[in-house]
């Protein structure tokens, strides 16, 4: 029981980081109407950037987020404006393929720049942990979770309470109607994509401290993100967050009680089982491709 609870705590903490990454993806799905196959590599890219900022300039990984977020926001904005906007009228799959190709290209550049050795960002407090009522809480994971909660909260506030957020929601609900009501859909979509990629920046820096990575880790991360997206309903923020935390816990509990080898697989099985019963996922209705 102790082991189970300990694993659940670890799972919730990492689930927060997944939730941040996946809600960025959900936001991108809303505005770009396609699944961002590059979301995982964006996280890895920011993990590498944070690694460099920490290693060469001694900037704390959590502070590096303040630099990474605007940089990655700009990257997302440019990618939408240059690559996705011209595709808007054709099929959604094409956007997906473009983003997938982009992910492969970024991985190539990263492998070239950093080689393929496994890295981990290791600040001084990397191995510290608190003990609360007999349970270990690693500091890094706790702060990573906290960072994820803060960024998620900020995203939520932007979406719900600002003019930009209203435009974003309108664009993802119905781009044609939004345009008719005076929303600059192209610009808002680019901003939405920027925000989605920026959330990958924050998640990536946190991820790089918790889990060792290299360019190829993008597939592992991508398969988790896709599972979260399918279970949570691609465009649903609350669904995504719930699914991400469930994934984190299932993964962590299976790793602790059965074997780490099967943790990824167990989740894929759950995913497949859910889809045989509910093709639209646990939440949301947009999954069948009626985009």
């Amino acid at each position: 029981m102790h082991l189970f609870l300990q694993a659940t705590i670890a799972g919730i903490l990492i689930g927060g980081v997944y939730a941040l990454l996946a809600s960025g993806q959900a936001m991108i799905f809303g505005v770009a109407r396609t699944v961002n196959f590059a979301q995982a590599i964006f996280a890895i890219l920011s993990a590498y950037l944070s690694y460099t900022l920490f290693g060469d300039l001694g900037i704390d990984p959590f502070l590096s987020v303040l630099i990474l977020i605007p940089v990655m926001f700009a990257l997302g904005y440019v990618i939408y404006a240059v690559l996705l906007r011209p595709l808007n009228k054709s099929s959604a799959e094409l956007g997906l393929l473009v983003l997938y190709a982009l992910a492969i290209g970024i991985q190539g550049v990263l492998d070239f720049t950093y080689q393929t050795n496994i890295r981990v960002i290791a600040p001084a407090y990397a191995n510290y942990s608190w003990t609360v009522a007999g349970y270990q809480i690693p500091e890094v994971r706790f702060f990573a979770f906290l960072l994820a909660v803060v960024v998620l909260g900020a995203l939520h506030l932007i979406r719900q309470y600002t003019k930009l957020g209203r435009a974003l929601r309108a664009t993802s609900q119905n781009p044609v109607a939004a345009r008719l009501l005076g929303v600059d859909v192209d610009r808002i979509s680019a901003v939405g994509m920027g925000l989605g990629v920026a959330s990958a920046a924050a998640a990536g820096a946190a991820f790089g401290m918790v889990i060792p990575f290299n360019g190829n880790s993008q597939y592992d991360l991508l398969s988790k993100l896709l599972s979260i997206g399918v279970l949570g309903g691609m465009a649903s923020m609350p669904g995504t967050i719930v699914a991400a935390v469930i994934l984190g816990v299932v993964e962590s509990v299976v790793a602790a009680t059965i074997s780490p080898d099967w943790s990824a697989f167990s989740f894929l099985v759950v995913l497949f089982a859910v889809l045989t019963v509910r093709p639209q996922g646990l939440f949301g209705r947009q999954l069948r491709g009626e985009l």
Binding site: A92, L94, Y100, A101, F112, G215, S223, L291
Partner: protein, 353 residues
Amino acid sequence: MTALHAESRLRRAGAARAAAFMAVLAVLPFLFNQHWQVNLLVFTVMYAGLASAWNLLGGYAGYPALGHGAFFGLGAYAMAIGAGHLGAGAGYRPFLLVPLIALGTAIVVAPIARVLLRTRAVAFAVLSITVMFMVQTLAYNIRGLTGGSQGLALPIAPFDAATFERPYYFAMAVLLVVTVGVCWVVRTSKLGLALNAVRDDEDRARGLGVQTETVKLLAFVLSAGLTAAFGAVWAYYISYIVPGFAFDPLLSLVAVLMAFLGGRTTLWGPITGAVLVGPAQQYFAYRFGASQLYLIAYAALFLLVIYLLPDGVIPSASRYLDRARTAYRSRATRRDRPDQVPMEPVPPRGGRG
């Protein structure tokens, strides 16, 4: 010119093209008989076949499958286990397993395909690659059967060292001819029409009485079985397989790239794409020996194709030829009536729901 005439002429042109294609496939390894050249041919022919097999589902039916690495790997592991039982000195016998492996994969995949095909478009792409990751994880974890991350070694075939690659080349070539044949039969049959209807508007097709579930399943199963056959020959050729390479998420992307480059929904497009990309990729791998460079090259080429040649080489070229021909004709007859200019073919829509 009567329609009948035109049709028989078309059929003769097609038959001539098929004969020329097979003749070229047959002589290539004798024209280029260096080891590295034949090796390059083996891979180019394999990619041509994989891209054509992918096109059955991804092009004709418009289902953006990204998980064909799963079927390729299944074929490879089936071959590794089967050839392992046959033992050393098996020679040509493992090639006899290939049709069985294709059939077996097709049967095993059918129930999974049924679940996957309940989704469409982006969701289908996501799920198909998820299946790829699932099977890859299984290959890593069922160590008793697959050797886990250590991989499996296949018996080395006792072929003559001077022409060692040739049997594999011809196995791949035969599979390619079979694949193109299957594609041709599908295209010219009612199945092809039904798949086109599914691609254009699945709900309307179903409303009009097309057995959408059945035709999609058929396309999926054919595509998967053929992909597995190539995986089987590939495993025997490279004689040592590990999960990371046998179940490669990139494989589908490469097939998609080739199909798009040549022109998906066409018969010869994927092969054209493979001929353009395959040798370049092998050359990169040997010349620079660095996988990261070909990752970058793939991405760059893919983006170039999508933005500059969205319909692929073959449709673009034939449209250019058509336009040149009409321009020539209208000049020859000195009648320049713009209302008689033939309309451009409508570009195929992706398989949106």
